[in-house]
Symmetry: D2
Subunit: 304 residues, 4 copies
């Protein structure tokens, strides 16, 4: 059975699942998305591409963007990143302040909010025009020069982002934020507002399956070793306190967002993007998780 | 460059490192081991075998045995295991009671002490002669019918094992231990006292690189899917709160023990066992970690 | 209005309250007590004595005994006690292990279980026949030479005391228990099994209202300064995580037990004992707390 | 020996103590205070007044002001306050976010920063001109119509107040702050910037020794019951995680500030204010704590 057949079969199974998940409601832009959307797109290194369902519809990639900001920061200052944050799973919720207090303002990893905020601070220190430059970087990785922030989403996030304001100021109180918290958060909220389709997501992340080389930008975005390391962090930390479960059931590096998107990477083989807005209790796409679990089970391919 | 050359080169480099680690001292049997011991052994699926240094010397495999007890429990009662413990990294030290209190007696994963104690309880419920049957199971996976518990080490562990007694009774107070705590701990202390050489360790674990099929016992110890899942747990939880770092730097599923041993598994390729008694601050073999980091870097092979 | 009238009036009001509390059920000896029991007894320094309801019925004083063991330890080794435990409110449940882990085995105060276990250890080190000597001490403070441990209750506690076994071994793992945990727990379970009536309780504790001088034993049990300090600890730590609320609403030093008893002390004035077995959510007697709140409100007497 | 003699004697003893404390340095206005300042002032209900040392010098009362804002809020909305915060000791540092996360944004008590910020929010909701009205309230309690905020200190606090900004936004994320965080923090930073002398402090707080009746304003600021309750909270929560120790050693309700001031209240007797800028490890005045300990020991008067 090939990828196309497998994807079609699982897509139908999972589409009809009684989906107990719930759409994120903390901002209107996420609340008003049609909960029945469900799209999948795969891109393999040997040129196979296939999509099904709403794979051409744009959605808010949210925390998935944290992998891209991490990549750019890693490219810019290398291993010095790790002086300011760790690579360990947090064992607590994505927006917890507890661990941060115990760890004196050093976030456990770059994918919890605290870590992504520190990465935002690093980018602001190292880019001339942070928002423009980061957007250019993402566009360059994609086939689509019109990828953009959603001003509306960024504004909404800012309006209700008291917990992130708390996180940023808390880290600043430990000295691990160099810029003005308002500026850092503006960058962070924009970062998370980027919109893509499943197709775009799958294509943009292909360099992580390709030892760091981006087919779209025709450049090595990361070294082979760096690319492996990003995959390792996605595997251990990509799904908040469901990371172990994702590794256990799916067995691929990946990253989810509260908009219902998930990107998964099979090194040396493919990337696959899934989108379904209803979230499980841990804040990850209910159908997305199920689809990927069945996909690696049926294809009998995982990194393990 | 082939495995032999790589291993020889790295072995020499790492052997001469200024080793800041410290031998475990909480029982005399570990304290009195020669700290300069350093052995490595690799076994590949296509038949290559190679050892260097003290690879024929027995040492106490300690927590590495937790993978074997988990395997047997998984084989015996399947996915029902996960009703009593999780698969998430703990984010705290291996013997912490904090997480356990927050999680009402459900250990985060099978490799922290609390989880291994629950697995011991499961085995006692499901084996006729727990200690004898478990030993037979391990011997069957090895080429060596004389593998054995160290009575001396088990007795020493018992004498100073107040924290593990605390853990076991604490879990029992939540109802997640079915047998008498004294019996459970006796099994647990024996389990961790097993002694092997690097060669034996590498050979015993080969079935995890081989989709669950053991060449030695000529049987499928686990299904392909189960075998992948054990590897996933080793990757996310195998090194306590250094698990993320091991995934990041080494990029292989693995498990360490306080005796200074580490087993690492490259699915579909090989297993490699390393032993050096001096431990880093996180309780993992200082030289062992360094050796494996350089080994996957130089061989440019990791699961990512 | 005098004490007698006030007590009679409040007793009737509170007796008829819709009592939402629940009797402790973890051992049969507590579960089988008639939940409608309700007794009160006051003893003043100027000789007034008055009881109402079930004030002559014996009940298990449980944690109230921790004040007596603390007193004896204080008398025996003085301020050296505080090298092994603190005097700060814990902010967590009475049997929590979390704080203990953060504080390296030094219990926050002598009234959480961990602290009372350390006090038990101190007594064992400093008494020839710990159980006999302690009982003699308590009998000497009372008018009743027949006060006794309940062997049945002590045995029941031991059977289900996994959490206390965990606590004791956990503290031992930090080096803050000197004797064998089994012996320490045997003493501790006996200590908590002592049975008294409200009348006896009120009389035994009178020395704390009397600057340390016991009318019954005709000796200074504690110095004036020590007596004040015990009262201070009762005020800040006597009711687990409801201590602040008790100080706020009742305004007296006091101590509760899971058997439904409460002793309260008004320095230089009186002691009052209340007993009603149904407990509120925090584990303190529902009617007992309400009675004392109304008593200090109506009498307009509190230490504040 | 009367109060005057006792105070003079202890003042000399403590003045010459080798003071291991350290002046607060997080803002220049506190850092630049002469560390050798040491003042004491007592006011009794029967008209005795006595001061020694720097009792006429103004200093920043800091957290002591939290008692005054609590009083005003209590006066304005009564027991409804306790829907938004508790009266339990926190068991953690004054600016911890951990407890707040566990308690879903409900601060443990009104004297940790989180609690005082919620009280500030309550005052803003219930006063026409919050800053002016609060100042008028404090002036009215004193003999001094010129008491004032220090604009300089408030501005400095604001500049470095990242942790308080974090706290306020964190509480807001739980819905327990109604106003704009910036406005709440502006009020809070002003509140803590008030400057008084020991003499003024002692006089302003006298109503708490007087069942709520203020001699200066000739009105009942609080009811008798409310006044007792404020004293109870000061006793259990007034010194952060040194509250139990203060109750134990000093035995009076009190409140300290990071400027080195302490106010203590003996209900029905007196108030005493102490000021010495060098702080012990817990953030309370080193000499102030020692002075009060010796004062209640020597005078043999405490509430216990």
């Amino acid at each position: 059975m090939d990828f196309k057949e497998i994807i079609e079969e699982i897509y139908l199974n999972v589409k009809n699942l009684d989906d107990k998940g719930k759409v994120a409601t903390y901002i209107p832009e996420l609340e008003n998305v049609d909960p029945e959307n469900f799209g999948v797109y795969i891109t393999t290194l040997n040129g196979f591409k296939f999509g099904i369902g709403n794979y051409k519809d744009k959605f808010s990639i949210q925390s998935i963007a944290k992998v891209l900001s991490l990549n750019l920061a890693y490219q810019l200052i290398g291993e010095r990143i790790w002086e300011r944050l760790g690579v360990e799973p947090s064992g607590t919720a994505f927006n917890s302040l507890v661990q941060l207090e115990a760890d004196n303002g050093i976030p456990r990893n770059p994918f919890i909010n605290a870590g992504a905020i520190v990465i935002s601070d690093i980018l602001i220190c190292n880019l001339k025009n942070p928002k423009e430059d980061f957007l250019a970087y993402v566009r360059n990785l994609s086939n689509n020069p019109e990828l953009n922030y959603s001003e509306k989403i960024a504004a909404s996030e800012n309006e209700v982002g008291f917990r992130n304001i708390a996180l940023c100021n808390f880290i600043k109180s430990f000295g691990n934020i160099k810029n003005d918290p308002t500026e850092v958060l503006d960058f962070y909220f924009n970062l998370c507002s980027i919109e893509m389709t499943c197709k775009e997501l799958s294509e943009v992340f292909l360099f992580l399956a390709n030892n760091g080389f981006s087919v779209n930008s025709k450049t090595s975005v990361l070294t082979k070793s760096q690319s492996k390391r990003i995959n390792a962090i996605m595997l251990t930390c990509g799904f908040y306190d469901e990371s172990g479960d994702f590794a256990f059931k799916v067995g691929l590096p990946g990253k989810s967002g509260v908009g219902g998107g998930i990107i998964a990477v099979h090194p040396n083989q493919y990337t696959i993007a899934v989108w379904s807005p209803k979230l499980n209790e841990k804040g990850n796409s209910f159908k997305g998780m199920r689809f990927l679990e069945e996909f690696t089970t049926k294809s009998e391919l995982s990194i393990f």
